[in-house]
Subunit: 361 residues, 2 copies
């Protein structure tokens, strides 16, 4: 790949342009917002404006609802040899393009699984996609050359290619991303009118469950509007479990011992299926979660406490695999859980104790 | 308080006994399981067996369903001057005691908001309650002396007392703890039969939402069985939002522009209420979440990378307020987000760059 055109210089488009430019590709940039193009060009992402000759790869990086018209327009203008989009939904744009009568042999739908809290070209970075899955959805009609150009883009962005069917992709992201977002919002929404005394009892569990409920609504509305069917299907399955849980809990309220036994079985079933499902969520490096040992250290809130704990752990030569910080309510103290390989735990614990840290068993 | 009796030497009972013993209280221990008592006594939690004379405070630390009979028995035997339990549900045990005809002036229901993944006396630690909320549910019938003994226990355990009505407590924990647990299980349960390719697309969002779905079912069944009504009420409210979301998404699937607008408004409403509710969840120290600045560092997977990043941050004299580690899929690399006060971010970023770390903007 020697030349590329990025249509849409937001976070994803500008990040891809930065990665390509850094690796010697001649990148052109357009956007309906002139200032976004100027910003991206000023960051070194490429040259503003449509190229004179067709480029090797046209990257359409606009919101889901605008993908099909932008692609149809680029195809009609013959701006490139190959075309792809990077929208978070893949079935709808393809069907829209088919409805517009476009020849799709030069097109491949893709979705890099990367993002951040901020958006726009100023949030862009050449390493946004490093190590992240980048889904490619070729069909039997896709030219091999087009698939290979897409794979080259993924490689230049140092992402990990994953080939999927477009509709399977949409069902997958509904399951692992779009539905969890909405459910997290619904759990958080219950706190909207909660008493302060209730809110004081919040612990790490609800903090984790509702973290993504803090996300900005605008981007999520675009995403959900582009993938309504698969998300509604997953929510409907959850609604069935939810109705089952309510019935089980009401049975547990009854005086009838048989009903209570049935209710308990219903709740246990949900908790156990939750265990099974959770065990499938990839942890570090996409592998099954390793059974790390936790070394828990009490720290104060003085500047540098956390840094000192890590410095002391580093001095002990132990690789910390993951870390969780649990803050206390109403007190200037916290608990840091250092997760390490089981064989390293005694070494780390001894080293930290020697340096004066209070460990919790 | 000079003497205490702990009935039930599991995690919570033994931890309280350890804290009291460490502060000079003469603690006696009983449990229906002889080996649990022997273990607790061997850990220094107190003396096995019922005391000769009534103690100052009887602490009943048995599972929710056994609280009322254990308390009624202790009251009948006149084992102490004051009595409390530490079960995670407060309305039911009180009503059971009333039904048993007990005089409740010497009793106060309490709930320390502390726990850990492990249970039993071997997991106990004298600092389990440090800085955690400990709910007290006095009634007009509660003797002031009894309330003061409970407050003394909370102080000796270095917890933070919170006074609440028993039923308000049960509704609050249903809202902030029991319901999030069940909903997390339901989201995770959707992955039970998911394809591997779908599971590969899991990101940090679903990891957070489903973390507590990995909890063991036994303890949660006890808790949910003791608080079925309030949990069913919150789930019913969530079910209404869920049905609304499904209807809104189905409207977004339709070709009718008015319906689509209505659907978009319905989804936006849930996302916005989620924002409002999330903003109420206390962050560090029970205060509103501070607007930390994130300094994101790419690390490799060699031993000590994380420790080195923290050591370098520590050398820069910057206090790290929180940390989040995002692991890549399929690659030996990760992204560490260091959260710091906004004014410290440039110092930290400069120091880390100087030490050769790759930062993501």
């Amino acid at each position: 790949m020697r030349t590329a055109l990025v249509i849409g210089t937001g976070l994803v488009g500008t990040s891809a342009a930065l990665a390509l430019s850094a690796r010697g590709v001649d990148v052109h940039l357009t956007d309906h917002d002139d200032s976004a193009v100027r910003t991206a060009a000023a960051l070194g992402a490429g040259t503003a404006g449509v190229p004179q000759a067709p480029v090797d790869l046209v990257i359409v990086a606009v919101p889901p609802a605008h993908v099909a018209p932008a692609l149809a327009d680029a195809l009609a203008q013959r701006l490139g040899r190959a075309y792809l989009d990077v929208a978070s939904v893949k079935g709808g744009p393809r069907r829209d393009l088919e409805a517009l009568g476009c020849d799709l042999s030069a097109y491949i739908g893709t979705h890099p699984m990367a993002g951040r809290e901020r958006s726009g070209p100023l949030a862009a970075t050449a390493d946004l996609f490093e190590g992240r899955p980048w889904v490619l959805t070729p069909t039997p009609d896709t030219d091999t050359e087009v698939l290979n150009l897409a794979l080259e883009l993924v490689a230049l962005c140092r992402a990990v290619p994953v080939v999927m069917d477009a509709d399977a992709h949409d069902r997958a992201v509904a399951l692992v991303s779009h539905t969890p977002q909405l459910v997290s919002s619904m759990v958080a929404a219950r706190l909207e009118h909660a008493d302060d005394s209730a809110v004081r009892l919040c612990g790490q569990g609800i903090l984790d469950v509702t973290r993504i409920a803090g996300s900005g609504p605008a981007m999520w509305m675009d995403i959900l509007a582009a993938n309504p069917g698969p998300v509604a299907d997953v929510l409907t399955d959850i609604a069935a479990d939810l109705a089952g849980a309510v019935a089980a809990l009401r049975a547990l309220e009854s005086g009838d011992e048989d009903k209570r036994r049935g209710g308990a079985a219903g709740i246990e079933d949900i908790l156990r299926r939750g265990n099974t499902g959770r065990a499938k969520v990839p942890g570090k490096h996409g592998a099954a979660p390793k059974p790390y040992e936790i070394v828990a250290v009490l720290i104060g809130d003085q500047p540098g406490e956390l840094a000192r704990v890590f410095a002391d752990a580093g001095a002990a030569g132990v690789n910390i695999e993951d870390v969780r910080i649990e803050h206390s309510t109403g007190q200037q103290a916290g608990l840091v859980q250092l997760m390490v390989e089981p064989r390293s735990a005694p070494t780390l614990a001894a080293a930290l104790r020697e340096r004066g840290w209070a460990l919790r068993k």
